[in-house]
């Protein structure tokens, strides 16, 4: 029976993109930042992003490092624009909700580091990892 290439499972090809030199170091960096297993993050990325978005991840991450959340230290530490607008790992609405909670905690006197740690837990929840 004839099978078409475009009907095949793309997981292997996507995985090959993610284990390339620069992609791998980026994925490991994000996994470390969010405290999640590398393989779990890879699985999430493969399921949620298409091939060209995966290819473009390092370039987008570079732009995020240079331009994202320039005016807000808390948002930058949390990666508000980085994970939603630039890397597109999370939707804007989800990230805004997480940021609102973190910002509220900071304003009520919670130390910034604790609030960011809480925010990252929420990100992990949103990623369901």
């Amino acid at each position: 029976m004839t099978t078409y290439l475009y009907e095949q499972d793309l997981v292997t090809q996507k995985y090959r993109i993610l284990v390339a030199m620069r992609h791998d170091s980026l994925v490991r960096k994000i996994a470390q930042e969010l405290n999640i297993p590398v393989q779990e993050l890879r699985r999430y990325l493969i399921e949620h992003l298409d091939m060209i978005q995966l290819e473009n991840l390092p370039a987008r991450a570079e732009m995020a490092d240079d331009h994202a959340d320039q005016g807000d230290a808390v948002a930058r530490a949390l990666g508000r624009e980085k994970y939603s607008l630039y890397l597109r790992i999370l939707s804007g609405a989800t990230m805004d909700a997480i940021f609102s909670e973190v910002d509220a905690r900071v304003h009520t006197g919670t130390p910034v580091d604790d609030a960011i740690a809480y925010g990252r837990t929420q990100i992990r929840e949103a990623l369901k990892i």
């Binding site: 298409d50 091939m51 473009n56 370039a59």
Partner: protein
């Protein structure tokens, strides 16, 4: 009663308007595009894997074979990266000859891109005129380097051979003729009412979206971002290079910007020929161990090589970031979203001058 439903419209992998196979899965609501997904993998060469462990003498030929359309810049960026690692200097005459080869390559690439766009919007006459002109540029490239594509003209410490005397004398006159024809064709595009209907206000890419996606080359400059690696290149700096930008952010801006850059390339070649220093074209040098990141301006934008070599000049690690990765991503996830017609998807896609061979490597 007619009901509007969400529809998945697959374009490709084989499509009359695409030069290379790629699959776009567009999601539409009526005629309006609401989302798109890209599937690659139809022409994967695995060239980075092939390069690993090989000496630079082999890798320089492999680098050219990443893309047949912009092979000169792949050759140039790889060699200049090796020169940076090994601290090899280039004779001034060779540096100018590199610019001439690179600009001729850019010209033929831009003409091919604009041909593709004209063909896609059913203006085949103008497309064929441009293709005919491209052949003349290819002839100039062949007379300079000895080959139409994969010229292997640039080597560490210089270029393979000097410009032939006859070619140096004939090139300015040929450029005059090409410029005259090109001015007519650019005018046809600029003033064509049907072309404007298909191009103006179509495939919008805002400056912010372009920045987020790290869009490069004419696609970025068509959205008002003055980014061009030639501004950091020592020879281009000597030539007083200034990037051209347009702020319309649509298909029309991207195609017209390529026309503008064609005239700019002609001026740069003329300037190189006028100021061409005398002397040798091969300075020599030995490739050494090291690690670098080096970028050059390909016809489609910033091309970056990440290279790690050992003491014998063998490539230990290499990754190539081609401009089409960023441009195709922005095209499929920003430019075509919200298009009012499915017919605009192909023209918008082609306006970004996508190169699938570069993207997949």
């Amino acid at each position: 009663m007619k009901r509007i439903v969400d529809v998945n419209i697959p374009l490709g992998p084989i499509h009359p308007c695409f030069k290379e196979p790629i699959r776009l899965k567009c999601e539409a609501k009526g005629e309006r595009i609401t989302g798109a997904e890209v599937e690659l993998g139809y022409m994967k060469k695995g060239i980075e894997r092939i390069m690993k462990g090989r000496p630079w003498q082999e890798v320089m030929f492999l680098a050219e074979r990443v893309c047949g359309i912009c092979s000169v810049i792949h050759n140039m960026v790889f060699i200049e990266a090796m020169e940076q690692i090994s601290d090899i200097s280039v004779p001034p005459r060779a540096a100018y000859l590199r610019v001439i080869a690179n600009e001729l390559d850019r010209m033929q690439s831009h003409m091919l891109a604009n041909f593709s766009y004209c063909y896609t919007i059913e203006h085949e006459t103008l497309g064929m005129y441009l293709l005919d002109l491209r052949e003349q540029v290819m002839d100039e490239l062949e007379r300079l380097t000895g080959a139409r594509v994969t010229c292997a003209y640039i080597i560490p410490g210089g270029v393979r051979c000097d410009i032939p005397k006859k070619e140096a004398e004939a090139l300015p006159a040929n450029l005059d003729r090409i410029e005259e024809d090109l001015r007519r064709y650019a005018g046809m595009f600029e003033g064509g009412p049907m072309i404007a209907l298909r191009s103006r206000g179509v495939g919008l890419l805002t400056l912010e979206a372009a920045q987020r996606a790290h869009v490069v080359g004419p696609t970025a400059r068509g959205s008002g971002i003055a980014v061009d690696c030639r501004t950091n290149h020592p020879t281009y700096r000597k030539l007083g290079f200034v990037p051209i930008t347009r702020t319309d952010c649509d298909n029309y801006a991207r195609v017209m910007l390529r026309f503008d850059e064609l005239f700019q390339s002609i001026d740069l070649i003329r300037k190189c020929l006028r100021e061409l220093p005398k002397g040798v074209v091969r300075g020599g040098g030995v490739c050494k161990a090291g690690e670098t990141r080096y970028s050059g301006e390909a016809p489609r934008g910033e091309l970056t090589y990440f290279i790690k070599s050992d003491e014998f000049g063998r490539i230990v690690e290499i990754q190539i970031q081609t401009p089409s990765i960023m441009n195709i991503e922005a095209c499929c996830h920003e430019m075509i979203i919200g298009s009012d017609s499915i017919a605009d998807v192909t023209s918008t896609f082609v306006s970004a001058d996508p190169c699938v061979a570069c993207t997949e490597r």
